[in-house]
Amino acid sequence: MNSSIKALLGTAAVALVAVPASAATLDDVRDAGQLRCGVNTGLPGFASQNDQGEWQGLDVDYCKAIAAAIFEGDDSKVEYTPLSAVQRLPALQNSEIDVLARNTTWTMTRDTTLGLNFVGVNYYDGQGFMVREDLNVTSALQLSGATVCVQSGTTTELNLTDYFRANNMEYNPVVIESQSDVNAAYEQGRCDVLTTDASGLYATRLELANPDEHVILPEVISKEPLGPVVRQGDEQWFSIVKWVHFGLLNAEELGVTQDNVEEMMDSDNPSIRRLLGVDGTFGEDIGLENDWMVNVIEAVGNYGEIFERNVGPDTPLNIQRGMNALWTNGGLHYAPPIR
């Protein structure tokens, strides 16, 4: 009897884990009462924790925006999961998170064979190099023979290889798994050059002991369109995240800000009325409330405000809008209209 009980128990344990799966991410998120958002383990300006342990940054604001759209303006219903470069894609593939907002480069492989969908670009970036000033290097083309610190498993690692190969230069890679260890190795002089996305270089330089002793070289050797990612196979969820992103861009283009969003509800501009759900049922059509964008903007502001607050010229990172300006200002951000 004893052993047959054991066998039965074993089978029960097996059966128990088999909780029925549901396909609709939106329902899961509503059921759980919070959005599971994958973010960087710590990259100032994009996702980092302050002394109180609160998350802040551009990517974090995207998590908050999506949560606000779903939970009627409550942007605190987010469970942040800090992920390393290696962990991030499996975590999304395996449904441990609902959306990945972790400065992830949009590439064809990731968008197709890895079973993921990029919803758009929330930061146009490019890979650069940082060196010590006293090496008197002014161009990346002088780096032949250098030792280069790079994080493993990133597009950065591949671009680095391609760049040195294309320019017929030799180098000595030091490949380390976590970005903070890469930075520590650079700081301690294990390598001459640190390479990552330019935004990351600016953020890293802030974290070095003597930021003034390091220069960022002018060359940008790659296209790094960073954006939020969702799993393939849930079109509704894909649309929601995508249109929260486009909504933020449209809001900036239409001049809707955190401060004036209430007044803008009374605006006569049909584009604004559609954006804020005064006209039409755009929100309900994707499974949200009609005033979804009002909730989003009240929570985090428009794209421009998010940028200025986290990485813009008034922050320690001091990054100019540049490519990240709206198309109307000579930048690359161009959102399809809501209609």
């Binding site: 009980i5 029960a12 059966a15 088999a18 342990g53 975590a91 395996n94 260890d181």
Partner: protein, 498 residues
């Protein structure tokens, strides 16, 4: 052959040795132990110089030129070119981080309380002279994990009805077994109870395959079928209770025994799901020594019973069980823990149905527990093999069944023989917990590493200071355990060895 042997034979009388120098007194002891031969003297002098030099350097680095106070890296930087020793100010500043990780500051008393309880329950258990070992064991193994779990996480888990039913089915089986321990219990009733529980298992399995209506009961969300399974389990417990009451004179105490498992499960569920006014703290905020201890203690608690089962499996007479145990043990022992942790980080989510996700800490725990169970199994097997065959035969001659023989005769002897091995496995497990930082958990070592990439504290001596501190903490635990094992080994030595 004659002339060949000559090489062995002394041709003349050996000269007598000179009389020994004085054999008594401190000087003689010194001479004998330090300066016995010229070579010995040279070695002693060289090593003596080296030890003095090394001790001085260590003392200088860690005390004389160390920095004990300060709030940033400036404190630990050499101002006037003099080399600076250890940067203990860094350890002081980050002490909270090293102990609790990002656990909210206002809630840290919960961690302190848990650790205090652990010490309060472990110490009397570890000291042989203190009485009430049974109660103590219950507190340590039964109550403490539950209290710790609720205290550390804050409770308020969202528990599915399937789990509630599962827990009660477990309780039903245990209750039935306890009721069966009473020789007067009517076997018919017990059979009914067992069948009810078994049907509950089947219903639970079906409930996971077939969708059925969902509704909430209290805070638990049941499906219709899982509720049926739950009710069947409750019915089984009721039948067991009835069976034991109807047969015995001592109603109260027997009933207590049978009802203990369901009461324990009910308390567990209430504590886990109920709102106790504690703020929930997600495991992603745990860190430092807290994570190290949680991983190590869970691993230790899980690996011993699992390891014993596996060892018994490996020595079983049933070929299928033996083969499975061997494959399982040799697989885990053949691969590095790092790959096991990677597997638990990347592959467990793939192996489970989509939508089911495991907490990251839980996954690491699972990997560590399975890994150390395999090592434990080999240690226990060594003990089983060392128990003389006569003991098995004697037990069988007394008419004991397999489990009775193992529990009453073989295991007590086998475990006693391998206590050093078990403790060594615990020590290895404790050290191995440091690997979890590679899959992104901030244990003690991980917290130290994150600490020394903090720009506020980057100095040449910060990493060494942090690592020496972490090393010292690990060393204290491991060394303590190994000393305790030696103590226990001596105490349990009954003179039967050899």
């Amino acid at each position: 052959m004659e002339e060949h042997v000559s090489a062995y034979v002394a041709r003349e009388q050996k000269k007598p040795l000179p009389p020994p120098p004085t054999e008594a007194g401190a000087l003689a002891v010194l001479r004998k132990n330090l300066f016995a031969t010229p070579l010995d003297s040279i070695v002693t002098i060289l090593l003596g110089l080296f030890s003095v030099w090394a001790a001085w350097r260590i003392f200088d680095w860690s005390v004389l030129s160390a920095v004990f106070t300060g709030s940033s890296r400036e404190a630990c930087l050499a101002g006037d070119g003099a080399p600076v020793g250890a940067c203990w100010a860094f350890v002081r500043a980050k002490f909270g981080l090293f102990t609790y990780g990002l656990y909210p500051v206002d809630e840290r008393w919960r961690v302190d309380l848990t650790m205090l309880l652990l010490v309060a329950f472990t110490l009397p258990f570890a000291i042989p002279r203190v009485p009430f070992k049974g109660l103590n064991l219950f507190l340590l193994v039964g109550a403490f994990p539950l209290i710790a779990l609720v205290l550390l996480t804050g409770g308020q888990f969202r528990i599915g009805g399937g789990w509630v039913a599962f827990m009660f089915i477990l309780a039903a089986f245990v209750s039935t077994m306890l009721a069966a321990g009473n020789l007067n219990a009517p076997p018919g009733w017990l059979r009914v109870a067992t069948w009810l529980a078994a049907i509950a298992v089947l219903v639970l399995i079906v409930s996971n395959i077939l969708p059925s209506g969902q509704f909430r009961l209290l805070v638990f969300s049941f499906t219709t079928l899982s509720l049926v399974a739950f009710l069947l389990a409750v019915a089984s417990i009721a039948v067991s209770a009835f069976a034991s009451v109807s047969s015995s004179g001592k109603h109260a105490s027997v009933l207590m025994h049978v009802l203990l498992p369901p009461l324990y499960v009910a308390a567990l569920l209430v504590l886990l799901a109920g709102d106790l006014g504690l703020q929930p703290v997600p495991t992603s905020r745990w860190g430092g020594l807290l994570v190290t201890l949680v991983v190590a203690l869970t691993g230790i608690a899980a690996s011993l019973p699992l390891g014993i089962l596996l060892a018994l499996g490996r020595r079983s007479h049933l070929p299928a069980i033996r083969l499975l145990s061997v494959v399982f043990i040799e697989f885990w022992r053949g691969v590095p823990l790092i790959t096991v942790l990677f597997m638990s980080a990347f592959m467990i989510p793939l192996l489970l149905p989509s939508g089911v996700s495991f907490n990251q800490l839980l996954r690491a725990l699972l990997g560590v527990a399975l890994f150390s169970a395999a090592y434990m199994a080999e240690v226990v097997r060594g003990g089983l093999q060392a128990v003389p065959k006569g003991q098995y035969e004697g037990a069988q001659a007394l008419g004991l069944g397999y489990w009775q023989m193992m529990r009453l005769v073989v295991m007590p002897q086998a475990i006693k023989l391998v206590i050093p091995g078990i403790v060594n496995t615990f020590i290895g497990l404790f050290k191995d917990t440091s690997l979890v930082y590679i899959i992104g958990l901030a244990d003690l070592l991980g917290a130290v590493r994150r600490g020394f990439s903090d720009p506020n504290w980057i100095t040449p001596t910060t990493p060494a200071s942090g690592l020496v501190f972490a090393g010292f903490v690990f060393w204290l635990f491991c060394f303590g355990m190994s000393r305790y094992s030696i103590f226990m080994e001596r105490r349990l030595e009954t003179g039967h060895k050899n």
